[in-house]
């Protein structure tokens, strides 16, 4: 597609002027890449390193909280999404008018970032795990519904048709035909959702949702930067560990 020379030049000029405009507007000068990088890394070197594991019991509590909270949230959102997504797929919806409603709910929940949910929940429910779990459920239901609905859309129709032909009701078709057939895909998505929620928990905690992100934010507010680094090391270990574990489970299951 990119063949015409003058067209190329036009695109490049456009892109460069866009970037230039953004640089001017945000008062950013290219040399700042070097100065701010060196500032930041000097800061990291002097104040954040080495990690200080003095408060490891305190940290471990937050770390465990993170795992539990992600697990609870993922579990509940998988269950809720299963119901909504059955309505959000054209092949499985019991009543036609439920389809646009389920789709709409899912896309609103998905497009509003989970941080916004936490901030709103913190105002009404209060700072802590409860808000974090609720926000994770809201965000998780949003994208899991869509993922599950796509799984149902791609299902082979034969089995369902056969069941319908025997006069089976909707509940029967779902429990005997749809769920067994799509179970591997659903479990794979559920594992991925758990993985994702562990990553997401950082920012959710940082805006008041409890867990390791809350610990990180607290230690920065108290200027305990080395303790924050310790928390960060633990968090990275957790992220990598959970990713490894879910990958292994996925291979076992599929």
């Amino acid at each position: 597609m990119l063949q015409l020379r003058w067209k190329n030049m036009l695109v490049i000029t456009f892109l460069v002027s866009m970037v230039g405009w953004s640089c001017v507007a945000s008062e950013f000068k290219p040399v700042m890449v070097i100065t701010s990088m060196s500032d930041a890394f000097a800061y990291i070197w002097n104040d954040f390193l080495p990690p200080d594991f003095v408060n490891w019991q305190h940290m471990l509590k937050y770390l465990l909280d993170t795992i539990y909270m992600c697990y609870i949230a993922t579990f509940i959102s998988v269950v809720i999404s299963l119901f909504i997504s059955l309505c959000a797929s054209q092949t499985t919806t019991p009543v036609k008018w439920l389809y646009p409603i389920a789709r709409g709910i899912a896309s609103v929940l998905r497009t509003i970032p989970s941080t916004v949910w936490v901030l709103l929940l913190v105002v009404s429910v209060g700072i802590g795990l409860t808000s974090g779990v609720l926000a994770m459920i809201l965000a998780g239901v949003g994208w899991l519904t869509r993922a599950f609905a796509e799984v149902f859309d791609e299902m082979k129709q034969g089995q369902m048709e056969a069941l319908r032909a025997t006069g089976a009701g909707w509940v029967h078709v779902v429990s005997q035909g749809i769920l067994p057939q799509s179970l591997p895909a659903i479990l794979a998505w559920a594992l991925y959702a758990f993985d994702n929620s562990i990553r997401d928990s950082t920012i959710i905690g940082m805006v008041g949702g409890g867990g390791i992100g809350f610990y990180l934010q607290e230690s920065v507010k108290l200027f305990q930067f080395q303790e924050m680094t310790a928390g960060l090391v633990a968090l990275l270990a957790l992220i990598i560990g959970i990713e490894f574990a879910t990958n292994m489970l996925r291979r076992k299951l599929l």
Binding site: F28, I112, T115, V116, L129, N196
Partner: protein
């Protein structure tokens, strides 16, 4: 059937684990019901969206956009150079490839909000912290995917250029980068999309943009204005997603179809 047994076992274990988790965490169940009522009441109070200082909000929207554009561009420029040293088929030194890849992996695995937190602490609140956070995090992903694109360049092209006696530099500029260009472009665009989405919420940890303004209105309990800003964020993210998918479908072979890259 054994596979059926595995699934039963898996689902059974996860249900048991769920209840164990519930006992381990001090979720406030009383708060859960009353809180949800409060939450619903608050959502109702947010309607209709109003009370907006338009000029400030517009400033925030533009600032988010600028943060994403500048952050992504920095990452693109730096990664283009670093990925040449990271791609194992063209890397000038053998050891360098794994060092650069390891560096990229570290940048990538640290969540973008942690970068934002670190840069806010060291550079102060404002757009610069957001730009740097996005740049560093994007760097981690772009080095990896650019290097992979370069590694997919057919060995014949590199051989042919080498046999003409071309130096390393001209080989890169005239042979390797042009052949990997389509995939580099589509990855860059994909990353810009991700960064635009991040830039709307980065403000919530103090890194400038529309998120910071939303945090302000919420702290002042100005609920109607908060809803207006949420709707604007919604529109921004939706537009970016829509345009991105259009561009990908039309001009570029979408990188989203590839697997093996973790985003986030």
């Amino acid at each position: 059937m054994t596979s059926k047994r595995i699934y039963q076992w898996f689902i059974g274990t996860s249900i048991v684990l769920f209840f164990i988790s519930l006992t381990q965490v001090d979720l406030e169940y009383a708060r859960l019901t009353t809180g949800f009522k409060d939450f619903a009441e608050m959502l109702l109070k947010m309607f209709p969206p109003a009370n907006l200082e338009w000029d400030r909000v517009l400033e925030g929207v533009l600032e988010s956009w600028h943060i994403a554009v500048v952050g992504t561009s920095i990452a693109i420029v730096i990664s283009l150079f670093l990925s040449l040293t990271a791609a194992s088929n063209v890397s000038p030194m053998k050891g360098l490839s794994s060092i650069v890849k390891g560096f990229a992996a570290l940048m990538r695995v640290i969540p973008v909000f942690i970068w934002a937190l670190i840069f806010v602490v060291s550079l102060g609140m404002g757009p610069l912290a957001g730009i740097m956070a996005l740049a560093v995090h994007s760097l981690g992903m772009l080095i990896k995917v650019y290097a992979e694109s370069i590694e997919e360049v057919k060995p014949g092209i590199i051989e042919a250029m080498r046999s003409t006696g071309a130096g390393w530099w001209s080989m890169m500029m005239r042979g390797v980068i042009p052949s990997a260009m389509t995939s580099i472009l589509s990855w860059s665009l994909f990353r810009l999309e991700i960064d635009l989405r991040y830039s709307t919420i980065l403000g919530m940890v103090g890194a400038g943009g529309i998120g910071l303004i939303m945090l302000g209105t919420l702290r002042m309990y100005n609920l109607q204005a908060t809803l207006s800003i949420i709707l604007i964020m919604f529109a921004m993210i939706f537009t970016v997603e829509f345009i991105g998918s259009r561009i990908k479908a039309r001009w570029l072979n979408g990188p989203t179809k590839r697997t093996g890259v973790t985003i986030g």
